[in-house]
Symmetry: C2
Subunit: 174 residues, 2 copies
């Protein structure tokens, strides 16, 4: 079955972006975070509405290029499949549960935190991959908004980079 | 100068205790987290009032045993130095700044999160040492309540244990 991977860069104090959505604190210094290998393992993206709208303001088309499916979860946007993006208004948990049963590569849960918390609580997230940056932002958009339940994890991989970023992989014991 | 170390065990979602203060999720399975070496490096403890009162309910006397000084920060408790514990009502930042200038070993900032956030924001914390446990608690007492400012860090050490705990050391670039 396809796996859902919540894979994001975050700060040590658990933020994935500043309050205004910006990620200028990301260390893009040529360090190989293994993204090209990761992209080969996936063929679908899951985004919350706010993350999607922020991406649009940044000029990212979020088109389904190279056979990549893009699903945006929203209760306010009109359901559609235009522009290579499918707007999903039904329960995210039920949709993702069905999606995992379809044939395909793994599924990237890009965020944001609210969608991640919802899908973690629904028990459909299989792996959590963090790239912890060596910074305390002090405020921002949360990596893990309160789930309201406990989930046990298994640390499966870790790597410390020269620039102080720490990549961790966990398996979710659903 | 003596260093202040914010050294705690936490969950991957950034909690240091459940909402009721309990830490039953801590993995006390005989793994050597290096605590005996750590205890030899310190001779003073800093605690917030809530952490202190929780410790008291757990039967911990918090006495200044073995030459260990214990400082509890509170605006509501009456200042005193009884029972081996000094209750500090003045600004925590100013008190700790003076304490660091006195002769002695390093200083353990035990928590809780509110005191840590206050001292981090004041620029008097030198090191952050986390023992990230492989669990999402879903709710609890925060490791890093919002600081309201950015602090850059330097990753100085890391160790992954067999039980999935990950110990990280950061230097705070104040």
């Amino acid at each position: 079955m396809r796996k859902v991977k919540y894979s994001v860069a975050n700060t040590l104090d658990g933020f994935i972006a500043r309050v205004d959505g910006s990620v200028d604190w990301l260390l893009m210094d040529g360090t190989d975070y293994g993204m090209s290998k990761f992209f080969k393992s996936i063929d679908a993206l899951l985004l919350g509405r706010k993350t999607y709208e922020f991406a649009l303001t940044q000029g990212h088309g979020m088109k389904s290029s190279k056979g990549m499916s893009c699903y945006v979860f929203s209760r306010t946007l009109k359901p559609s499949t235009s522009a290579g993006v499918e707007i999903i208004s039904e329960s995210a948990g039920e949709f993702v549960r069905r999606l995992k049963l379809q044939a395909g590569k793994d599924i990237w849960l890009m965020g944001g935190g609210e969608l991640a918390a919802s899908l973690l609580a629904e028990g459909v997230v299989d792996e959590i991959e963090l790239n912890i940056h060596p910074v305390l932002l002090g405020s921002g958009i949360q990596l893990f908004p309160e789930l309201g339940k406990q989930l046990d994890l298994k640390l499966t991989d870790w790597k410390a980079h020269q620039n102080g970023c720490l990549q961790l992989s966990y398996q979710v014991k659903n």
